[in-house]
Symmetry: C2
């Protein structure tokens, strides 16, 4: 396999098609990048660009994209239902093939230093956090854009790169490295939300289940059948098939069937290797055989 | 997904490392090709190069490889246990992503015409056959290299491209288009070959099983446990999981377990989509989501 890094750039504009296209064109103008997802949400007023390439190309493309986005987006006029604190809100880099977390952090820091030099305050998070309390995006973004002037006056919220003062037009950007997520939903043949909550309790790390599973139960569709909606935050330690089989077993214990599942959005090839190996019992199989 | 064609070039040399490297270098010298497998067998005295790329690159790379192989290999001195009739014996092109069989046949014909112009007799087979009796490689190759002088004197074996007479140094080449094969083996927890033969009878097309399954039962390893060794010649019509579940069920009917399986050599990504969809019940999933 070739060396591959993924970037997922979240910008604070989800309605202005012309602006979104201009940002996309800046990204794809040069270089050998594969755009694997482009998701704009008008209600969130947010667009997520997901693309892969060799690390150097991903860094260069991200700079082109971000330069255009901070030129065109003015946070003083931004409204949307999704939490945000910047025109370029979050830029996670995700190691995919043949790239270490360390190397990906190097790319994130090169990007952060560059963005700081462009006059945007930058915070490093997750694997690149400079302080324990900056690991979590939710924590860094608490109070959102509107709280930035007050927060940035405190030593605790001094940015890792760029100006130490609030910048009204761009707000601030969070960047760093995280492991690839797998968004996996399991649909139950029952509208009994209490059963769904029992199953969530059984599988999610916070309540004694699998360490790398974040889960909620919610009613979906016309019949209000229950869906177990999950993020698997480390498919290597906690593979998809194991979580699925546990949910099937727990549901059966409640006399409830599993009607179907969903893999939502981009899925790393390596996460599917475990599924193939388990169900086909092909223990010497490797995704390197796949073309 | 990008448009992708696969080529699998079989040349009649499996021992001379210098020669094999020279042929490989010719292939990879230019162009954007992914070499996904290179398998040399000294006993067969044969090497198989498997690579993918966009159709135009695959055609150009195949010409580079083949030009070098026919320059270096002299069939008058060739011995090996695998059936063969030419220095470049067989060149199947396999449509992978976004390439139709028709388009792949166009590439095979461009290649065949070029090879003919280089002075090598060429026969089209499988999806590109010009006569029904030339569909099957086994039939075209009957009698092998040694029978060519006599065969080519007959109107029935007039080549589709190139000289109408036997060429001693190069022999003749077969090219065309076939669907991607999946080589799938299922290992049983029993050395009872009679049970293995019953299972083969149940799954293979020739005896009432699945149309696109070719299967044999054979003892493997120290214990002589039985392996059901298969080629799935059309994974779209006859998917891997269905064949596997049928074998599990038939084995269980004989009181025999399935100890493990093997996917051998290159496997098309699309063939694994069905496995994922079936076992995870993710019916809206598409390999386009995979990165």
């Amino acid at each position: 396999m070739t060396r591959k890094l993924l970037a997922e750039v979240n910008i604070s504009e989800g309605k202005d098609r012309q602006l979104i296209d201009a940002v996309k064109d800046a990204l794809l103008r040069e270089g050998e990048l594969s755009l694997i997802d482009l998701n704009s949400d008008a209600d969130h007023n947010r667009t997520v660009f997901t693309y892969t390439g060799i690390p150097g190309e991903v860094l260069a493309g991200t700079k082109r994209l971000v330069r255009k986005a901070i030129e065109l987006i003015d946070m003083t006029a931004h409204h949307g239902s999704h939490p945000r604190m910047g025109a370029v809100d979050v830029v996670p880099f995700v190691p995919v093939d043949g790239v270490t977390v360390q190397e990906a952090c190097g790319i994130a820091r090169d990007f952060g230093a560059w963005l700081g030099s462009m006059g945007v305050p930058v915070f490093y998070y997750e694997e690149c956090a400079t302080r324990p309390e900056r690991k979590s995006l939710v924590h860094i973004r608490k109070g959102e854009y509107e709280a930035l002037p007050e927060k940035m006056a405190q030593e605790e919220w001094m940015p890792d790169e760029g100006p130490r003062a609030f910048v009204a037009k761009s707000g601030a950007t969070v960047t760093g490295v995280r492991f690839p997520l797998v968004a996996f939903n399991v649909n139950l043949g029952s509208s009994n939300l209490a059963v769904g909550k029992q199953i969530v309790k059984a599988v999610r790390g916070a309540t004694g289940g699998y360490k790398n599973v974040r889960a909620i139960a919610l009613p979906v569709g016309e019949k209000g059948n229950v869906q177990i909606s999950m993020n698997l935050v480390n498919y290597r330690e906690t593979p998809i098939h194991r979580v699925f089989e546990t949910i099937k077993s727990e549901a059966a214990g409640h006399g409830v069937s599993v009607t179907g599942c969903e893999l939502v959005g981009p899925v790393p090839l390596a996460a599917l290797e475990g599924v193939i190996k388990h169900y086909l019992r092909v223990h010497s199989f490797s995704m390197n055989q796949v073309y």
